[in-house]
Subunit: 669 residues, 2 copies
Amino acid sequence: MVVASASLDTLCINSIRMLAVDAINKSNSGHPGLPMGCAPMGYVLWDKFLKHNPQNPKWFNRDRFVLSAGHGCMLLYALLHLTGYESVSIEDIKQFRQWGSRTPGHPETFETPGVEVTTGPLGAGISNAVGLAIAEAHLAAKFNKPDCKLVDHYTYAIMGDGCNQEGVSGEACSLAGHLKLGKLIALYDDNHITIDGKTDVSFTEDVLKRYEAYGWHVQHVQDGNVDIKGIEQAIEKAKAVTDKPSLIKITTTIGYGSPNKSDTAGVHGAPLGSDETTLTRQQLGWSYAPFEVPQEVYDYFRQAVKRGLSQEAEWNETLNNYKSRYTSEGAEFERMLRGDLPLGWDKDLPSYTPSDNALASRKHSQICLGLLGPNLPELIGGSADLTHSNYTDIKGETGSFQAKSPEKRYLHFGVREHAMAAILNGIAYHGSGLIPYGGTFLVFADYMRGSMRLSALSGLGVIYVLTHDSIGVGEDGPTHQPVETIPSLRAMPNMLVFRPGDGNETSGAYKIAIQNRNRPSVLALSRQNIVNQANSSIEKVAFGGYILEDCEGLPDLILIGTGSELDLCVQAGKQLTQEGHKVRVVSMPCVELFEEQPNSYKESVLPKSVRRRIVVEAASSYGWHKYIGLDGTTVTMDRFGSSAPGDTCMEKFGFTLPNVIAKAKALLS
Amino acid sequence: MVVASASLDTLCINSIRMLAVDAINKSNSGHPGLPMGCAPMGYVLWDKFLKHNPQNPKWFNRDRFVLSAGHGCMLLYALLHLTGYESVSIEDIKQFRQWGSRTPGHPETFETPGVEVTTGPLGAGISNAVGLAIAEAHLAAKFNKPDCKLVDHYTYAIMGDGCNQEGVSGEACSLAGHLKLGKLIALYDDNHITIDGKTDVSFTEDVLKRYEAYGWHVQHVQDGNVDIKGIEQAIEKAKAVTDKPSLIKITTTIGYGSPNKSDTAGVHGAPLGSDETTLTRQQLGWSYAPFEVPQEVYDYFRQAVKRGLSQEAEWNETLNNYKSRYTSEGAEFERMLRGDLPLGWDKDLPSYTPSDNALASRKHSQICLGLLGPNLPELIGGSADLTHSNYTDIKGETGSFQAKSPEKRYLHFGVREHAMAAILNGIAYHGSGLIPYGGTFLVFADYMRGSMRLSALSGLGVIYVLTHDSIGVGEDGPTHQPVETIPSLRAMPNMLVFRPGDGNETSGAYKIAIQNRNRPSVLALSRQNIVNQANSSIEKVAFGGYILEDCEGLPDLILIGTGSELDLCVQAGKQLTQEGHKVRVVSMPCVELFEEQPNSYKESVLPKSVRRRIVVEAASSYGWHKYIGLDGTTVTMDRFGSSAPGDTCMEKFGFTLPNVIAKAKALLS
């Protein structure tokens, strides 16, 4: 390895700074402050430590790097470009923040190979990093052998003051400390500035002490602007501490190099502009043209390509040795990496008939997890401290993922919903075939919605097991009874929201959720028992909505139901049929999948000419008019609930056969 | 004051425990563990410290008590009952968790006088308590005089492990430490148990050290089950520390008294049942019948009534002195307490004509805040570190609420959206006429949705100033571009969601938001400039939706627009009119208010017979079919956005005149 001279170090670091300055000036939009301040730590980390292969950004055993302070994305793009990633050419950098470019305003995994995690919403990235480190620890425990370390990488993150102010990072880092994730190393860019000005207007806590309280190893590099050696030594020390995650607070100057704007909020999120850029060039002694990188800087940085190729080649040899010595584990490992599901993974998914006992769909979910578990070793998940309410355990398995048992796949997240979702995202980002799931009460989706949105945006196949899905919750009352939660999730692009109406539909929802490795799913599940339908099936769930009960010819009325209210529609349909009406009952376990069907199918289920339509769902009617139009009606829950036994709530709020019949007759009359 | 003997102490404490046990057994639902474990701290706090008047739960200068661990509500109901609140009779306790009772499954302010804060969602209560303490500190600084302490009370909270695991509490308590809120005292029920079992499955951090890092004063009472004196001394010490909030960790046994279930997760959230109750009675030496409270216990506890009357009488004297010495301040104080807005508070709200400059609605919002500020001294708020993006400052005012300047009304929340919302709720819960507002980017409503829901549920007039309301955000990209956020908020009961289309509508939205002291409002505001309409007005916003431009007779087509897309509808309407079509343009700044109008009005705006309808809004179409039915169409944003200049995003995603015209013509053909 060539060691850079002090002057070459500086040239490399200033290359990062000036690429950021130039790109942000050109786009007239962006955040130069962080890249200018963090260039030294970024340089040291990527040059001295980060194990990666620029020619294969998806190489499995690479170290993961998360820029939790995502607004500083030019730092990451500069590092990707300088170390030789094809995904970020100098032309891409010139297209920073432009339509169709690979250098969007915050890092997005789906736009730029080499970006591990979509960041921007603060606190999320470091929490994803906890998930990445959990994935590494789990897979290492699962696959590594005394003579063969197949899984072995670090997870690094750069986080800012904002990340440390957000509660989600506190949740995730508390759990990381508990789990003693020794291969998680976070660099904290302590630059004293947030958008509102000096951090001392709102943030004067002792961050290192807080992390120490979480059980982290902490260090402080006093001058992160110039102390390259200090940063290097701190990362070395952090790596040496194997039983604790590490936080290295690195004090920097935001916008370092800008004589008038450094150390001010003005450089956080606005271009330097031409005059200040000229002064910055002078101050940094930078004589190159905009977007010009000195050849010696390229030469030095791009050693990463050769290094990466050789590191990957070495690992490939390890993999080959592993496969020859541990045939079945090796095949399993490669299967997971390919993202193939095991043969017969779904063979035990149960189906039901009306003679089977009525069960809560959360119970059906538990049965599914118990039957999927043995056939799907990549399933990994848990609950935000509601295991025995969400029924998220995998039957027959004991113990949980802990510092001393990382081979286990059950995660006790604690009462930390937001961190749970972010960690599940991190496990999915790891790209190793793990299928993450997590449970809480549906109403508390609100606590983790920020990260659920990122699951959807980044196309992560996280499965959210959200039980207690309506006023059927009962006594816990309106704080615990979701009303608007289901519509609020249905409104989110790229999120599948299932509300299964019985056992078959719960199995069907799991089948689709497992298959969808590139989009997240919500399973909204009942606390209370629901009967099994005669005409439901696992397969029909794939249509999103389907005819469950029908009349001959065109119906006079269509009843649309979901979840625990599906049977109410069936009962109403029966009675109305007996009274001579032509009634169809449509089950709609997943609106999003129904929307994806061809128009001909949708028309066959909901003929446009049939305008008498009723939706019955114990949730807000918001969104259902897409199916009932201006002429239909709903039996829905358009107010907050109340504390009382679940059956009472259902009755008082109108989820009764007489009420549905009355609404139907009003339409039919 | 009568001092209770040790045996009377025990009898009082066991009365709390057994009321909880009996009520939860009777309802066969609830959480006995916390009330049994926290009965000693509840007793000491309410008996020895809490300043309150059971006969006037709304007495202004009372200490505020927040049961952040809301599932333990029977602790609170028992204390309310025992100290003589009319709102919780023994019959009410027997109706625990039943339909229509005043003792719901979690404390709800709107059901039970004496309950200060609706709790249940963990972490929220302690964060509300920070808001209560901020309100007290602000009002004390604003009104108190060297010779007259008008505002002077403590805020106490009981929180559990769950509250401490939730990130929102970390955010709020970090800020509380920064602000040195010396009159905030939290008792932390350290009982080692959460629902998943021992806390050591997920929570092994050093909580006291963490709070010390936040700048809190911390103490530990080792045996909270019996060390009454220790609890008392700790609270005394906490009160003596006036420049820091205090956390007292009190180690207890969950379900104390139950021989087989105490110290297990089994007693957290399930009734003891009859056998274990019998054993518990034996263990506690409790010989009374279910729901029976020994007379000496009532006699002792209900001294609170006399004490409270005398405390309030004394304060009333203070108030009278104050009013006589400080006439105008006294009148102002009483006006605020009555909840009356000052005369002419809205007189400076600006109105606009098309000749006025196009401005971003966030800029209109800033103008409104600047003009409301001087006329509305009770306005208090800030931003989650986006002051210069949200434009949430009050023009002409400098400085912010800090430890040394609590009289200021601008709050720097830091990058802590969830805490911001919870603190705003706390300020509203204070009931002193303060009008709290807070800003962040609209997309980050997801971070604080848990507390926004509580604003809506509890009927708190919080104003959420949420800027950057669409893909118009531009370069920051899809992580920062709301798409589903507006529909997800519209789905929430009791939340007014405004998306004003110009300056007049922004003024109108503020007018209504300020007037609505019992429900929260969201102002969704543009980053980009929008032109002023000829026919908009402040007053029309109150209708939620209204005819902005019209044709003669029944229209062939109705264009419905909001916010930054309103003008696109107007332009399209003009062009289509020129081409001979009869077109109406409806502005819909607030769907919820439109829904509240009489059917005749709604029919006059959107006649049922006119089925050709188009909604134009740069957000998900989810929910709009209520107005376009099965026959209309939308120009909406049903996918995530992209990083590019805002104008480019708008154009690429179809928010152009040609696209709206084309969609209209397709409908008209």
